[in-house]
Amino acid sequence: MTENTPAPAAAPRKLRFHVLRHDPRDPESVAHTEVFDLEEAAGMTLFIALNEIREQLDSSLAFDFVCRAGICGSCGMVINGRPGLACRTLTQDLPADITLAPLPAFELIADLSVNTGKWMRGMSERLETWAHTVEQDPDLHRIEATMDPDLADRIYELDRCIECGCCVAACGTARMREDFVGAVGLNKIARFALDPRDTRTDEDFYELVGNDDGVFGCMTLLGCHDVCPKSLPLQTQIAFLRRRMARMALG
């Protein structure tokens, strides 16, 4: 079997990383770009590259990775101008000059590390992103309630969001309105609106997102849709939700 064998390696490229650095808790720190030179290796991802920079060049460089497999959403950053997951970005798909910046719209912790967790928890509390069920304590001994298999699949499709924050970072409205819930929030409302286990009505959802910080704040620039690492159908969901909420508003 040779079908997967990669081509023999040419002379490795010299990569030049331009990394935005800042420690907002240090009064002397000024946001600036620092340059790191690194030799490219086969199969190198930004996860590998940033760890090499930290091990060999600057032990103080702050960034976040957890799963390093594109599953957990920790490593969202702006890569050559575009929000994306660093762990699954191969350097071979980028030019030799690579610019890295923290996701905008979130509180900066340091360098490439931002506080998406705080933002997401706030959004979840506001939008109550859990199934509001009639029965708080279901009888766990009994056979579970049935659900249409296709509906379960459709809910999972929207449930795949990993709260990485790329959609918020790519959103025009989120940059202007601090309290905008973002595509991540609207997608969650769409997800629970679809779920028959959630007893909330359109009126309830209207209370949550029927305003300019919700679905009417979206300017349809659709940056969210373009950058979503999980390819969620954000455009369709927002349009759908907006029609539904507009119907509510018009009574």
């Binding site: 079997m1 957890v66 799963c67 920790s74 912790i109 001994h141 049935t146």
Partner: protein, 660 residues
């Protein structure tokens, strides 16, 4: 000095920790969860294939029940598990799936009628029952007699973690993110909480609690090649170990997953093989039936990983510029199945390998995956030696996995243990044992000790580099304490790790800030990880037999006569370079399933003299109870239900086992 008081302090924001906190909260106790990262980023999210629970909804799961799940799990453990705990687990797992279904997990559901599946490389048509339509579906997994693994496509852990994480928000459980416990506060017999460092500001805070629960997951990152997330460094186990009082159980029991993608080590789910995927060698030959005619690709993970490495040693590997590997073939499942049920696998192959698994084979090789060992606890989750300290999930050893865990039993364990231990913690908080009577000097001294340790690292001028020590440790573990182990390798590993531990006491930093300082974090974690690595290596060196995932080439047989016992490691003297090991026997006379052949893997083992006696005793008992229903028989053989919290007792309903 900042002190935060609460009823329950949960260290770790993955599935086990969150479910423990929800359980305590629902009983009216305040709980705070500490998490290194936002909780939905925990490694629980990486569980892909599913969770085992004997719902028996799909036709290939018909006839499944707690008894079959129990037997599969005990055999999987190579008889290392605590059988009463396994019983508690298998009886609660269906309830856990049903609770999660009610909380909104979009479990994949059964569709009635014909469907085409791949079994043993062949296309087969199976027909799902009309009465199962819309119920939670199950898929096949390794080491199981029935299709038992409930799943959400191949994003099961993600869907579970988000549902449980959102439920924690709904219940108002505060999660203190980016906080790291550095040490437990204790007086040698009672645990009172932890000294905690803020990873953003560097500030130390004492969290004082009636009950403290460790739910920090596994220790995979002590190895160089692992499927584990970068935060799975065994720090929770180290926290318990450093008390000198709490013990770690069976740390030498380390699982290697057969299908880490090569060379990155990222996991692709066992569901690939469960759904019909095959393992092939460099020549394209499907080799597993040659070694394991009964279960083939779906023997337990320890067995499949060993057979793969054995086959590579015989010279049958595929070769790439990164080294030798084998192939996982899921092409035969077809594009529709892959894009529907194995979509994370497809993404991982696309982004990390540039491979389309519907068209090409996936390069794989076994990689460290799971820590069967952990903080030794009773069936309640509480340490038998340090009152008020609890543990749950992968960080714990209560001990349901013994020497090998079955696929689908870990993500199941997280929620099941969370449910059970959460109740016992609430009981503890309501009992006199939970009363808190702590001298403030103890808190002050614990914080001062941690402050001093950090100051030595930051300003002590030590010459050793933390990341260099860590990388060397990881390399030793992967090279010398891996799938095949020998006395000589293990001795070398222990000696070299001891050397690293001594050197780690002179770590110095290049960067001296106390705020977000990744080098400081690596420094104090490396010191802890080395102790955990030494527990693994030394436990493996001392255990002169092969059991489950612990395989000694110089002692290839399972030796029940000498080694049917659990390793306990403690570390009482901080200046020591080795843990103290002791052993606790597993009593055959109380076992529901006495030791025997697993149904796959090696057939020869050294029998314990008690085994034939127990087998005969059980035979007589079964004859006497002929005609009685299975629950009655089970209760006579090995009663366990009294051990469960009351709300989780009772039978589980199935299509073929209706409750009145």
């Amino acid at each position: 000095m900042k002190i935060i008081y609460t009823d329950v302090l949960v260290i770790g924001g993955g599935l086990a920790g969150l479910r423990v906190a929800i359980g305590a909260r629902r009983r009216g106790h305040d709980a705070i969860v500490l998490s290194l990262v936002p909780p939905k980023r925990s490694h629980s999210a990486a569980a892909q294939g599913g969770m085992q629970a004997s719902l028996a909804n799909v036709v290939k799961g018909q006839g499944d029940n707690e008894d079959v799940h129990f037997e599969d799990t005990v055999k999987g453990s190579d008889w290392g598990a605590d059988q009463q705990v396994v019983r508690m687990f298998v009886n609660t797992a269906p309830k856990a799936v049903r609770e999660l279904a009610a909380w909104g997990v979009p479990w994949s559901r059964v569709r009635q009628g014909d469907r085409e599946v791949i079994i043993n490389g062949q296309k087969v048509t199976i027909t799902e029952r009309a009465e199962a339509h819309g119920l939670v579906a199950q898929r096949d997994f390794g080491g199981t007699k029935k299709w038992r693994t409930c799943y959400v496509s191949d994003g099961t852990g993600h869907a579970m973690l988000f549902a449980v994480g959102d439920q924690a928000i709904a219940q108002g459980v505060p999660v203190h993110e980016r906080k790291e416990a550095l040490a437990l506060i204790h007086d040698g017999s009672r645990c009172y909480g932890a000294v905690v460092r803020d990873l953003i500001t560097g500030e130390l805070t004492a969290y004082v609690a009636k009950a403290t629960a460790i739910a920090t997951g596994g220790a995979g990152r002590v190895y160089r090649v692992t499927t584990n997330a970068v935060i799975c460094e065994g720090i929770g186990a180290a926290l318990a170990l450093e008390t000198g009082v709490a013990a770690l159980g069976n740390m030498e029991a380390v699982q290697f997953h057969p299908t880490g993608i090569f060379p990155a080590g990222i996991l692709v789910t066992e569901g690939c093989r469960g759904d019909g995927g095959l393992l092939r060698d460099g020549a394209g030959h499907r080799f597993m039936p040659d070694y394991e005619p009964e279960k083939k690709e779906l023997a337990s993970r320890d067995v499949v990983s060993r057979r793969m490495e054995e086959h590579i040693r015989k010279g049958h590997a595929a070769k790439s510029r990164f080294g030798e590997h084998l192939w996982l073939d899921i092409k035969l499942l077809g594009r529709r199945h892959i894009e529907h049920n194995l979509r994370e696998v497809k993404e991982i192959c696309h982004y990390f390998l540039g491979v389309d698994p519907a068209e090409q084979w996936i390069p794989v090789r076994p990689a460290q995956h799971y820590t069967m060992g952990g903080v030794r606890t009773k069936h309640t989750g509480e340490s038998p030696t340090l009152r008020g300290l609890f543990a749950a999930g992968e960080a714990a050893c209560w001990d349901m996995h013994g020497f090998n865990r079955l696929g689908g039993n870990s993500v199941a364990e997280t929620v099941v243990a969370g449910m059970i231990v959460g109740e016992f913690i609430a009981d503890f908080c309501e009992s006199p044992a939970g009363d808190l009577d702590i001298p403030t000097a103890l808190i002050r001294e614990a914080v001062a000790a941690e402050r001093a340790r950090l100051d030595v690292l930051l300003h002590g001028g030590g010459a050793e580099r933390a990341d260099a020590l860590k990388i060397e440790m990881q390399q030793i573990m992967t090279d010398k304490v891996g799938i095949f182990r020998t006395g000589a390798d293990l001795e070398e590993a222990v000696t070299r790790l001891q050397g690293l531990l001594v050197r780690s006491r002179s770590i110095g930093l290049r960067h001296h800030a106390d705020g977000p300082n990744p080098e400081l974090v690596t420094a104090y974690r490396t010191q802890k990880m080395l102790k955990v690595a030494l527990c693994i290596a030394n436990g493996a060196l001392t255990r002169t037999e092969s059991r489950g995932a612990h395989f000694r080439e110089d002692f290839p047989r399972r030796d029940d006569a000498t080694w049917l016992k659990r390793t306990l490691a403690t570390w009482a003297d901080p200046s020591a370079t080795l843990p103290s090991l002791s052993y606790e026997p597993l009593e055959i006379s109380a076992m529901e399933l006495p030791p025997g052949w697993r149904g796959y893997g090696a057939k020869d083992y050294l029998e314990h003299p008690d085994t034939p006696r127990r087998v005969e005793e059980l035979q007589r008992l079964r004859e006497r109870l002929q005609g009685a229903d299975r629950h009655r028989v089970q209760a006579e053989i090995m009663p366990y239900e009294h051990l469960l919290p009351e709300r989780f007792r009772g039978l589980n309903e199935r299509i073929d086992e209706r409750l009145p």
